[in-house]
């Protein structure tokens, strides 16, 4: 599986690297921006770039699910949460807590450990990309043939979570006492 050298990258890898830079940079802006609404909007950019990464990795179905659920639903849910908690619109200084330096140290240590481990472990691993591997047809066949039971269990979990969210957030549903 060591087909080609790591450098220079192929055209697919160049596209992936560009999208990855966009995703990582906007993720960094999500955790550093001073405006909470901008954080949600940078999250859209990051998730969109990640969907592009999935497309380059031939995982088409996952890419579209990412666009539909993350960009379409999760970010809208987060924006509703921002709105309902009356977050300040505009720059606010107190979005970060006091232990910013400690958090930066921990995050840099995590990044250093993970990146060195991953580079050391998968330096020679090469995945040839064949289009259509992750299209809806093979993925759907796999889900409904081999992964039916986890799929159904997950649908029950999602239903329970949504009912739980409704029960928690409504005020007119009380306990027994």
């Amino acid at each position: 599986m060591t087909a080609t050298a790591l450098w220079p990258p192929t055209a697919q890898e160049v596209v992936f690297l560009l999208l990855g830079v966009v995703a990582a940079a906007s993720a960094l802006l999500v955790v550093t921006t001073r405006q909470i609404v901008h954080a949600a909007l940078w999250l859209v950019v990051s998730f969109g770039a990640l969907a592009g990464c999935y497309l380059v990795l031939t995982a088409e179905f996952v890419a579209w699910v990412q666009v539909l659920i993350y960009v379409g639903a999760v970010v809208v849910l987060l924006l509703f949460g921002i709105m309902l908690t009356r977050a300040p619109i505009g720059p606010s200084a107190d979005l970060n807590s006091g232990n910013k330096v400690m958090a930066a140290i921990v995050a840099l240590a995590t990044a250093a450990v993970l990146v060195t481990t991953v580079i050391d472990g998968f330096r020679l691993a090469y995945a040839p990309l064949t289009p259509g591997e992750g299209a809806a047809k093979p993925l759907g066949a796999s889900i409904f043939r081999n992964w039916v039971l986890p799929f159904e269990a997950l649908s029950v979990l999602l239903l329970a979570a949504l009912i739980g969210a409704i029960v928690i957030s409504r005020t007119d549903i009380g306990g027994k006492d």
Binding site: E13, A23, V31, A59, Q66, Y70, A87, N99, T110, S169
Partner: protein, 142 residues
């Protein structure tokens, strides 16, 4: 496609999420950072599924499952955040320290000064004397 590129991207996204969970004060921003960490896991799953050429497409199916679980987690998490906001008028994780270890200067040795600690604690009264670490850990685990 070398596996190193998606793996390194996933590592960087994950540590960005770690920084956000630890450094942010607003609970919704903490939830956003958790989503970043979940996405880092997703890109790893997809990359290794492509690398290992799994006949069952385990990686990509598991990615879809992770996306569904992230949606469920976010729904319940935001409902909890809204309930907290309704009771406290704040979503700052370092103000929510009712379950923290009692500090000697803030509360007595018997524990927190209110029996249930839910409604009696004014969010303005204890300006972050102690227990921030516990509150932040709870925010990270949400």
């Amino acid at each position: 496609m070398h596996v190193v590129y998606p793996a390194v991207l996933a590592a960087l996204l994950f540590s960005t999420g770690v920084y956000g969970v630890l450094a942010r004060r607003n609970t919704i921003l903490v939830l956003m950072s958790v989503e970043l960490m979940l996405n880092a896991v997703n890109i790893n799953l997809v990359a290794f599924d492509v690398w290992l050429r799994d006949a069952l497409h385990g990686g990509q199916v598991l990615t879809l499952f992770v996306i569904v679980i992230a949606a469920a987690e976010l729904g319940v998490g935001l409902a909890i955040v809204l309930a907290v906001f309704r009771n406290r008028q704040t979503v700052a994780v370092d103000r929510l320290h009712d379950l923290a270890e009692p500090e000697d200067d803030r509360t007595g040795p018997g524990g927190p000064d209110t029996p249930d600690g839910s409604d009696a604690s004014d969010p303005q009264d204890a300006p972050d004397a102690g227990g921030t670490r516990g509150a932040r850990a709870r925010g990270g685990a949400a």
